[in-house]
Symmetry: none
Subunit: 402 residues, 2 copies
């Protein structure tokens, strides 16, 4: 897709706003989905005026994680650009990831006489693991010229980022997990799968042994198991791919991290959806493209809280006029995947989307919902096609061929 | 598709039932298609409760044979997994095909002074060709260590299966037809196109000459012309690709053969659709996936018998509640292709499909028909996507990416 689009890019002063209601797609309870149950007069009026449809994040029947879900919305094929587990963990814990970096998701574990007796160190409390992580950072910060950064997670989890002085080969992180997956076994060594992975493996080996020395006298968390070694995926930046100077507005680190991966500016931000919209307004003059992320819709879906999810959708609907006041040339409202409350998790279901611009048919969908969007002019289409539609509707794509 | 799906497979106790009403899609006569004309209260109620859509077996405008039609439904890309003519003929005549086998579709022909005078041996009656085939089998059963099996077809047709002691290279059957396609010409030799095809060509040459000796004194059928040399396509089994233990329920050998090609258990079975459903019930505990094939819908379509096709659809509709009693986790009803009675043959038209599971929107299609299915939540999609949807709806696929 990007291959077709890139040579056709032209710049102009248009503004594109992409609102991601995380996990917005749902399934019926008592005959109505979350979107159908929510009272959303503003979204409904906008849907009637917009091009609507449903998008498939990865492929038919495939439930996407947040990484592939967002990459697709950003116009990157999630099958071509896969994000390693370590990278996603690091992004989620607020670390910035560069081409010189390898990220690892880790567990504190208990080891005795060379064998793992607890892979999760008794799920030690978060405040305790936070202190241990600080200690590790204090004692270990450079190995063989590579900078080492530790980031504490919940309970026994932490992430480690190793920053080398130079950019790495694509297979530099080809190292299997050292977690043996079963108690009673010895931890595995970080064994490089390719020649290019030897350097990283060497640093990892030292790192694991140094961490063990630091933690030696801990009763439970005296070892770290490493998983999901990964480097930064090699993808063109948003500016390079689409000629757009983009701002990400998100309160959760992982979504800012995903935006940073594609080169969006993604400053730290706290607060409510209203605060996010205020931030959008304050920065509206400075960027071409705005990614505004609303996390809580998904969170309630994940908890199986149908009414809670409905309430967050209604909350956004009340705030929508404040975005409309900006009169963006293209406004898209959608999700990165579906999270039906009845399923308490992400699902494979196509995600409703509306795209408002002066160049749509409209008058096909009388509200913004999964069922109504089946009647829309966009049909059911791969998520990765949304960005070219946004570019076209902002008149940022030239004609293909003569 | 399979590449994405395979690493996500997880097993559980769910049951998936795929009902194939062969050739069910149709075209209007007096304004209504076969499905629209048939009185189908059970299918209509089920459609209202299901995810519906239309699937495209091979590609836009492409009319599929039964082989590609079924392979697509089974989740195999029919463009990647092509089934040779010889193999399909052998399957249709009830032969089992292994990786060690080469199958050939043959004609009895008349040869005189080295030239073909009748490519179809005067279309000799089936009972006569059956006797000749028995005689060939009696005289010829092993050549150069390979077992030779003859299977009689209709009139002048027969199939030959050559079973070698070891598995064959993919190009072992790269041998053009020996049928010169015109009377008055000499039969062509079975000339190998590749080095790997030399062994099969050598056996075929002896076979053709031995058959001629056996048939020498026949007035009409004194020679065999060989076509469609082919080996078993190299495709992963259903178990391997989807983690499903599958039972095929079909009364026609070809459909059992297609199911066996992908590793389904497909015992010989005779009787009515009711008998097929009884068989499903008796074996319901033993498998994960059930392919139930209803042939007669297509047969009447092929004959141009609109009312006959309508009657077979209505017959299935009356029996549908007996399948519903089993409460499968996922139930799909569709066809392998369309066979509009007005066209007296297969056609390229997308095929209506309904998929019932606890995880659908539903309430979009008020009956099961070509036109109503255009309103469904599945849209118009490639047939090969149906299996991933079935796996997703039976919660047999893990999340893709984090």
């Amino acid at each position: 897709m990007q291959k077709i689009v890139k040579p056709l890019i032209q710049r102009n002063d248009s503004k594109i706003v992409l609102v991601v209601l995380d996990g917005v797609g749902g399934l019926p309870v008592n005959g109505k989905t979350e979107l159908e149950t929510a009272s959303t007069p503003n979204l409904d009026a906008l849907a009637l005026d917009s091009a609507c449809g449903l998008h498939i994040p990865v492929a038919a029947g495939i439930t996407p994680g947040s990484g592939p879900g967002h990459l697709g919305l950003f116009g990157y094929d999630p099958l071509e650009c896969q994000i390693g587990r370590g990278i996603l963990e690091a992004l989620g814990l607020g670390l910035e990831v560069r081409e010189t970096d390898v990220a690892i998701r880790c567990n504190y574990a208990t080891i005795k006489d060379g064998f793992i007796t607890d892979r999760r160190a008794g799920r030690i409390p978060t405040d305790q693991s936070r202190k241990l992580t600080e200690r590790l950072q204090k004692e270990i910060n450079k190995i063989d010229g590579a900078e080492v950064t530790f980031a504490p997670g919940m309970e026994h989890r932490l992430a480690i980022l190793i920053r080398f002085p130079e950019a790495l080969e694509p297979d530099a992180a080809a190292i299997p997990d050292t977690d043996p997956q079963k108690e009673g076994k010895a931890p595995l060594p970080p064994a490089p799968l390719t020649k290019n992975a030897e350097k990283v493996a060497g640093v990892a080996e030292k790192l694991i042994s140094m961490a063990h020395e630091v933690l030696e006298n801990e009763e439970k968390a005296n070892f770290i198991l490493t998983r999901g070694f990964s480097g930064r995926p090699n993808i063109p930046s948003f500016e390079e791919a689409f000629g757009l100077n983009a701002l990400a507005i998100a309160t959760y680190p992982m979504y800012r991290g995903l935006a940073k991966l594609v080169g969006m500016y993604a400053p730290a931000l706290e607060g409510s959806v209203e605060d996010e919209i205020d931030f959008l307004k304050r920065n509206y003059g400075k960027y071409d493209f705005f990614f505004l992320h609303v996390k809580k819709v998904d969170s309630f879906g994940e908890d199986g809280n149908f009414e809670g999810k409905v309430a967050r959708i209604e909350e956004f609907d009340r705030l929508l006029p404040r975005i409309l006041e900006l009169k963006p040339d293209v406004l898209m409202v959608t999700g990165d995947h579906s999270t039906p409350a009845v399923m308490k998790g992400h699902s494979w279901h196509p995600v409703p989307v509306l795209l408002k611009s002066p160049y749509v048919l409209g008058n096909l969908c009388s509200n913004f919902s999964e069922r109504e969007c089946t009647k829309g002019e966009l049909g059911i289409f791969p998520t990765v096609n949304l960005m070219p539609l946004a570019l076209a509707n902002s008149l940022r794509l030239r004609k293909f061929g003569a």
